[in-house]
Symmetry: C2
Subunit: 428 residues, 2 copies
């Protein structure tokens, strides 16, 4: 196909006419489709239906620790749940606390705790004149929302093909004492699906922060969310690397079963050094008597061990893979060579990251919405919702059915073309 | 029986001899009993066993709102769970948010949120020179632990027979702008089992706080935890009273099913005015995507409605009542007339509050511990763990079996007598 930029004004106008006709027809269909959030589809939720039966009225309700899971007790999670979460992350159970149904809540609480009480005895961040976080971009909107709420200054760090720009990360972290954190989704990053290379992980682990209370917020949300059994990304386990540098206290790692079992009823975990976990427990013991151990037991008995989790994830992949491929294939068929867009084909995670020409993302999202297809708001993948190039769109193909996805993708492509033609006509 | 204070030194010494012999025998038994925390007994947890079956692999998993409870969505709780929690408290569903398994966590978060972000637009409490909370005493140690952690100055407010000393409460709240809150357990108070009278509730509702961000933390933990079906305490619903005074924003009310279903796996709720709930949701939407809706549905379907909850609570009462009575009867038999102790016979809740002679509580608890019976630490019922009279002991009779309770109570009484005799001998 010929690149749009090589077309004459008349050729562009002719294409525009054609596209507008198609758009009118599409809009008339009254679509109501949602590709905005990384929600599992009903079919995926059904994969864990049997989990609802494993803890029942005739179950032995004592966990390995000997405690009745129905009663109070065990602040940091039951042993069998800890073990599974630890194995998912490749760390020791001793370095894990199991929480409730949302790792987002753990992350929020870690920032909140640092604000109020400091980190391992440091000055509470709320008492400092300035607190900064590094934000690899494009990134996860809910991370940025947390730091924005706490009035943390967010600094964009461009993502490269193998992770954040580490030269920049090192420059900031090693020299600026007000830089207290960085948000990372190190495997199948949200939204690009990029897995940090070994070199990037090693450079993270070797950071020499100017601030001793600097923490890497390592949100390993997609640790086991591979699409291709025979072509998985492998993420280097960061704590082992940190230990080599005496840097074990520098990382908070997060994960959950939100996209393993139930998005609204899973369990989550924090992994960290013993010193950090002790620091967390000091206030956590006042915040709560402990999280829902019945649900922890339900998860542990359902999976038995981490191999049970791995087997389960293959079933998710079987549902998600065709959806991702349908979108990508359509992009390749319809957009390749037009010079108006690029995208990453991810090997896991929940998103496809799409780049329009500069200045087109907001318009594409608006046009899709007008015709009944909801996308993540343009700009959402950047701090303060400000995408400096107005070019990144996050596509979440998991929730719609395959038929819905086909319709939504067609409309999306149509809108990309239409907005791009308009953009080119501005200067043609 | 003759009061100990009327005995001669020789008579006291003779009693002491006898008691020490008994104590030695008791200590030799190697007891290992726990009356320290308000934990439900296994039999009580078993009452809700069938709840584990109501949401199973063949269930319809959509809630009334039409949302699949397994997926993300619904920040403030599913409608059917809201309704039950609202009915327990006698408020409207619109005034309720359902949270996770622990109301303590809601309370902590409400204080934390006020510290960081203020209340309805007020200055964040952490930015103020001084924040004070009123603490009716004796009271609940975990309340005091929260405000202590946040460096809030706690002021003791003596409990009277029908609630906190309201003259004092009014004096502080209506005149001191740094008084931002008061901890209340208004029904079957922890530890005394006192229910606030209508007059006390009306006076609370009619407060004219000097601080517009003053809030009553109304922890209605024992709202439906009556021991006697035909002799229940009735607590006036506070929001209705507040509305009469245009004071609806002044109260945060808390409750949970921790002592209804599972202490470690129930659901909890916050009730508040629309303005307050909107304020909470503004930050809550960044803190979490929502709490475990599967467990909310499990609770809602198990109970069907609030009448199901009431029926269920009768079964708890049937288990708890004999335990409370066994302790109280033993006290009456062994301690009445000795002039060395007093206690409250509660009609509900989880505790028996016991008063030794001044200066004896710590020694009694230590002596019990030495012989294998763990009680709540003396002083725990006061802010900073400082009971000014060293006289209050909280007894939690729910967890031990009836046989264990008998042994523990006998030992406790023995220790009370022994420590009292020692005390009297100091001056005799």
């Amino acid at each position: 196909m010929k690149s749009y930029s090589e077309l004459t004004r008349d050729e562009l106008l002719a294409i525009k006419d054609e596209l507008e006709k198609e758009y009118k027809e599409a809009a008339a269909k009254g679509l109501k489709l949602d590709m905005s959030r990384g929600k599992p589809a009903a079919k995926q939720l059904d994969l864990s239906r049997d989990m609802l039966d494993v803890v029942n009225s005739s179950s032995d309700l004592k966990c390995e620790d000997g405690v009745d899971v129905r009663n109070y007790g065990i602040l940091d999670g039951i042993s069998e749940a800890k073990k599974i979460m630890a194995d998912i992350l490749g760390v020791s159970s001793d370095n894990v606390i199991v929480f409730g149904n949302a790792s987002l809540n753990i992350m929020y609480d870690m920032v909140s705790r640092a604000m109020l009480f400091g980190v391992l005895g440091s000055t509470p961040w709320s008492k400092l004149d300035k607190v900064k976080f590094l934000c690899p971009v494009p990134g996860y909107d809910r991370h940025f929302a947390i730091t924005e709420l706490f009035d943390v200054e967010m600094i964009n760090i461009p993502m490269k093909a193998d992770g954040p720009d580490m030269d920049l990360v090192e420059k900031y972290v090693n020299n600026d004492e007000s830089v207290k954190g960085i948000w990372c989704v190190p495997k199948y990053s949200n939204p690009q699906g990029i897995t940090y290379s070994d070199e990037v992980v090693k450079r993270f682990a070797a950071l020499k922060p100017a601030a001793k209370d600097f923490r890497i917020f390592w949100d390993n949300a997609y640790a086991i969310h591979d699409l291709y059994e025979d072509d998985k990304d492998e993420l280097l386990e960061i704590f082992a690397e940190c230990r080599k540098n005496g840097n074990e206290d520098m990382v908070y790692e997060f994960c959950s079963t939100s996209k393993v079992t139930f998005a609204g009823g899973g369990i989550s975990a924090l992994a960290a050094s013993k010193a950090n976990l002790d620091d967390v427990k000091r206030t956590m013991t006042i915040q709560t008597i402990g999280h829902d151990k019945v649900n922890q037991l339900r998860h542990a008995r359902y999976f038995k061990d981490v191999n049970g989790v791995y087997e389960h994830m293959k079933k998710h992949a079987a549902i998600l893979r065709p959806k991702f491929e349908a979108v990508i294939n359509e992009f390749e068929k319809e957009l390749s060579g037009l010079g108006i867009a690029s995208w990453v084909k991810p090997k896991g995670g929940y998103f496809i990251s799409f780049e329009t020409m500069d200045g087109c993302a907001k318009a594409v999202v608006a046009k899709c919405k007008e015709a009944g297809v909801t996308l993540t708001g343009a700009g959402a993948t950047y701090p303060y919702k400000k995408d400096p190039n107005d070019s990144n769109i996050r596509i979440a193909p998991s929730l719609p059915t395959e038929e819905e996805l086909k319709q939504a993708t067609e409309l999306f492509i149509l809108c990309v073309k239409l907005v791009s033609v308009d953009k080119l006509l501005e200067t043609a």
